[in-house]
Subunit: 208 residues, 2 copies
Amino acid sequence: MNTISVLLVDDHTVVRSGLKALLGTQSDIAVVGEASSGEEALEAAQEHSPAVVLMDLAMGAGMDGIEAIKQLRQRNPKQAVIVFTTYDSDADIVRAVDAGAMGYLLKDAAPEEIFAAVRGAVQGKSVMSAPVASRLFQQLRNPDEILTPREAELLSLLTEGLSNRDLGKRLFISEATVKTHLAHIYAKLGVETRAAAIATAIRREGMR
Amino acid sequence: MNTISVLLVDDHTVVRSGLKALLGTQSDIAVVGEASSGEEALEAAQEHSPAVVLMDLAMGAGMDGIEAIKQLRQRNPKQAVIVFTTYDSDADIVRAVDAGAMGYLLKDAAPEEIFAAVRGAVQGKSVMSAPVASRLFQQLRNPDEILTPREAELLSLLTEGLSNRDLGKRLFISEATVKTHLAHIYAKLGVETRAAAIATAIRREGMR
DNA sequence: ACCGGTATCAGCCAAAAGGTGGAGAGACCA
DNA sequence: TGGTCTCTCCACCTTTTGGCTGATACCGGT
């Protein structure tokens, strides 16, 4: 039986310990290294050349998870990277998959799910938590939901708490136009109020 | 030497494993139970009567962390509850301290910090991570800007994009009361609209 | 030359939110 | 006991938002 070597990357000590403890119960999986930042991850990957990298996206300071994935994939395309994070933010999922992540697990995943993801990853299978999969599916099914540049601009200002009038002044357009854009934005985001739009915008696009 | 019994409450399996592994390295600390929800926590506390409860505030479904703290404190005031969570949201900190939490640690805390908090808690000392402490300090310096627990609760729901009507239903109060609370919140935050309040709340409190 | 997407603007109406002022109940503290 | 804080509720009024319909104009690709 081939044992699968795993590198853990997370800035939370307890999460690393937990994963180590969990993975340690499986005879075919061995944790060969740990890192608490993107930079450390690259070094550790160089040193241990693990088969699988289990990585949190949100790392306190320095290089973020997405960038780390890109670099890892670039240096060693055989290495499988599995994202292991707390949130299922749309933007993060897309970016992670784009950067070359093989799987996307949420931190409340069951142990079995984690084991399956690690084993699947070395075989080229991509495993993701159910909520993540459904979000990805949604996005693929609904390309309409992409905001136009102007709409994105408005949404961004919206999250600063401006009124329609202020939005108009800021963008040099009439209040009527602002309302039109907003209506389109609401439709695309699947919400009915500006409050919900702000909440959705912040929760689905970065900003955490 | 007295060993300190600890109950872990977190809906993430890996976090529980991690804490268990970390605390297991200390000869004077013993994990006597685990729970993954507020309800389970109350049961487990009943069964094991631990000296310290280490609890995540954000629990997926059912009872939230704050409510769990209140009930734990009510049933056994000698028990020390330490909050162990990912974010340092102003509202959460205030509410947790109010509910009777003895300490407030962030999940990226160093192991030593966690040990110190557990040992301190049984002696009646309250330990908190530096960022948390600084936020609390800020709030004490600016008493006008402190939201009441109820207001904080409202603000938190507000950031989910709910309407006044929905807020009322969720909190079992009339729309009139919701508007009163909102008016107070706006005054304290120094904003005029709900959109600005949401934006401010998210940018100044946790949720990143 | 036509069509689809984007950006701009208007008017009308209903719903939601915000401002003002007032008020009672319960908790806590001096 | 009196004062303060918090939470709850009400009525009235103004402003803001959102839903709907419709319009003009520019750009790019077929």
